[in-house]
Amino acid sequence: MSDATFPTDRPSLLRMALCKPGFMVGILIIGFSVLLAIFPGFFAPYDPNALDYLAVRQPPSWAHPFGTDLLGRDSLSRVIWAYQVNMQMAVFGTVFALVTGVVVGALVGYYRGIADLIFGRIVDAVITFPFLVLVIAVVAVLGPGLINMYIAISVVYWVYYARLMRAEVIAQMGNDYAAAGVVMGYSDRRIIFRHLLPNAITPVVVYWMTDMALVILLGSSLGYLGLGAQPPQAEWGVLIAEGRNFISTAWWLSLMPGIAIVLTGLGFSLLGDGLADLLRPRG
């Protein structure tokens, strides 16, 4: 019964995907980004931390396609190694919030009652803060750095996932199969995790994709403000901050990581949009 609402028409899905150039571009960008993130050493021409005091801020050349930075490090290699950090951000910055949010949202949406009331207040309180203000405040509590940044984002973000999940679960509960599950005497756990969750999770997954783009933007903003990844670690926001002072004389320092951010962000949102189109319940 539940299969009726879940798209299973695989071949036509693939065909549709191929028809959507935006989606394909998204897949290509993210696929390549993942490759760079997993094997930065293979793609990067130099050690990203090797200093060369005698060749600082060299403009792009054949030897250094993106030029060199303030300490004579190869900019291309640093941008590539930063893929590892920034893609990691997209994963670790979202996955804890995703899991917690999905579980809490599903439970609250299923059981309602007092837990739902309390949850409602928590959501209200958290969304009342501008997101960045809260994340920065949490980072300030924990101290700057990547891991603390993940914690800060997760602490705030799970609420958004939970809210979305709760709404979906409540909507799904109105469907016949949920009622049927109750009538057939299935356990709550079975109804929630076997029936409601798979059906309600589609919009959450779509949201997750856009969220990864957002987290990369957020992470690089924090890096830029000095609250995220810390130099000498290569991270796009940090690299832009390093090049900030030289934007008119050594433009390549901030341009290249900027392009990387935009490309990756674009990739994730194209992917998210494409998925949303594909998975949108039809009929």
């Binding site: 200093l51 600082v56 303030l70 101290g143 609250l227 810390q230 000498p232 900030r244 002072n245």
Partner: protein
């Protein structure tokens, strides 16, 4: 008498110049890295406050141009008694506060009593030798408990600047703090006699100084200083934006130019890139305690290891990458060159990899020993220092790891000793070496800048020097302290840096002193 001679000289000088007219009037727009909070001589405790005190207030004496002696200020003359326990000063006649009211001996007594009240001022300790201050007409008498070689320098220091007693009496508020805040909130003339008075203030955003028409010092054209009508300060914390604003002509000067930009601005035809000599030193305290905070043995407790780190640090390379050449290695272990009694021990631990390696071996440090460098999160300089030190010390078999914290945490770690090495810096507030030496080496005041290093001979010399009135004998004691300190090296001795200020071509006469004070007295701007 003295005034007349000064006048005679300046008149002659002006006549000799092809253009005799002194540029007067106008507003100088100045971009600052951080704003002042409260420019009260006794409460100023951050550099952006301290460095502005001299523009709004006068001290009895003034630091001389070379920084090694004092000149008359509000007091036109001074004498120190034979036993060194009484200082007598004569106030200049007819000095007025910016609102036109007379500055009298009463104001001096009020100001100095306020400045040495430990319940009020964080700087009261610097005036600990004063027993009493009294005034009789223009004659001011200061009696001391013990002879104090620093007293004249102290009377030329910001915290002894003279405030108007009447202004404080009239201010609303229960406590002195409240009164001070109330006075500065209304931004009116009347509390100080400096070349300017505070005439506009938006906390953390902007600040205005207006010329004090009653200022007593005379300019090159024979009229009272300052030349400017006003100075408008804007707070622009971001380095790049501060420079952009100067380049766009929105401001006439920008302070704290990052050294990486100095060369570029030097070649800009519309900008004068000024590097003012300073007493600023950049160093890294090394934890010298026998064991680390977690109880493990501390490899840095061995002086040979600390020496090795100093030898193994290529200061020239460091100055190259961090300061882009705009700095010099420390030549005294305890102070900048510009400080009185600074010994020239250069080269102080010049780069010597072999020596460093043999000292490390001698001390029996295992290759791969981990040492943590605590740096300031968000500081580009610190990040660069770490990257460079990590590579340099890697050659010694030391594996340097970084721990990035904020300023408050770094301060707390310094206090509790939970660090291996961390970055720090210092600028003198007083034109005398005792302050910085007390901070860096004397155990009872600051645990030798948190390093835990303690040396009985050093402490004894420091205490003796505090009462030594013979300049030569005092100098000798400081020389010995510097020797002891260099040998023990509780610090990684890095470098001294100038104050980098970029000013537009239209600006002349602005100065930043080695202590950091911003001086607008003789600044001009042509439009």
């Amino acid at each position: 008498m003295k005034l007349k001679t000064v006048l005679g000289v300046t008149v002659a000088a002006t006549l000799a110049l092809p253009v005799a007219a002194q540029e007067r009037g106008g507003t100088l727009n100045f971009a600052r890295y951080d704003g002042s909070r409260l420019i009260d001589p006794i409460y100023a405790d951050r550099n952006p406050d301290i460095w502005m005190v001299g523009s709004l207030f006068d001290t009895l004496l003034r630091g001389s141009a070379d920084g090694n002696s004092v000149d008359p200020g509000l007091a036109e003359s001074y004498t120190v008694s034979e036993d060194g326990k009484t200082v007598t000063l004569t106030l200049r006649d007819g000095v007025q506060f910016a609102d036109g009211s007379r500055l009298s001996g009463e104001d001096v007594v009020f100001s100095l009593d306020r400045a040495r009240n430990p319940d009020l001022s964080p700087w009261a300790g610097l005036l600990g030798s004063i027993n009493s201050v009294s005034a009789d007409g223009n004659a001011i008498t200061i009696t001391l408990n013990d002879p104090d070689p620093t007293i004249l320098s102290m009377l030329a220091t910001f915290n002894t600047a003279i405030v108007s007693k009447a202004a404080f009496d009239a201010a609303v508020g229960e406590t002195d703090q409240d009164k001070s805040a109330a006075i500065f909130a209304v931004t009116a003339a009347g509390v100080g006699s400096g070349p300017f008075y505070l005439c506009g203030f938006e906390q953390g955003a902007s600040m205005d100084f207006c010329a004090n028409e009653n200022y007593w010092r005379i300019g090159a054209d024979g009229e009272p200083l300052p030349y400017l009508d006003s100075v408008h300060f804007e707070i622009v914390p971001d380095d790049a934006t501060r420079i952009l604003r100067l380049q766009a002509g929105e401001v006439d000067a920008a302070e704290f130019i990052p050294f990486s930009r100095v060369a570029e601005l030097e070649s800009d035809p519309n900008i004068n890139m000024q590097l003012y000599p300073s007493t600023r030193i950049i160093y890294s305290p090394i934890n010298t305690r026998e064991s680390r905070a977690d109880g493990s043995p501390n490899p840095l407790a061995d002086a040979r290891v600390r020496q090795a780190l100093n030898y193994g640090t290529n200061k020239d390379a460091l100055i190259g990458v961090v300061l882009h050449g705009a700095g010099q290695p420390m030549s005294s272990p305890l102070m900048a060159k510009a400080t009185q009694y600074a010994a020239d021990l250069s080269p102080l631990y010049s780069y010597d990899l072999e020596k460093a390696k043999s000292l490390i071996a001698e001390a029996g440090v295992e290759p791969g020993t981990q040492v943590t460098l605590t740096t300031l999160a968000g500081s580009a300089d610190d990040a660069t220092i770490f990257a460079a030190l990590q590579q340099m010390w890697g050659e010694l078999g030391i594996e340097l790891v970084v721990e990035q914290v904020d300023g408050a945490t770094r301060g707390a770690k310094n206090r509790s000793g939970e660090f291996d090495i961390h970055t720090y810096g210092w600028v003198n507030d007083v034109n005398d070496p005792s302050q910085v030496v007390g901070w860096l080496g004397y155990t009872p005041t600051a645990k030798a800048v948190g390093t835990g290093w303690e040396n009985a001979e050093f402490n004894k010399l420091f205490e003796e020097a505090a009462n030594e009135m013979d300049p030569e004998a005092r100098k000798a004691k400081f020389a010995r302290m510097q020797e002891l300190y260099a040998d023990a090296s509780p610090l990684l001795f890095m470098y001294e840096t100038p104050f980098a200020v970029a000013v537009g071509k239209s600006v002349e006469g602005y100065v930043q002193t080695p202590l950091g004070n911003n001086i607008f007295d003789e600044a001009t701007v042509s439009r």
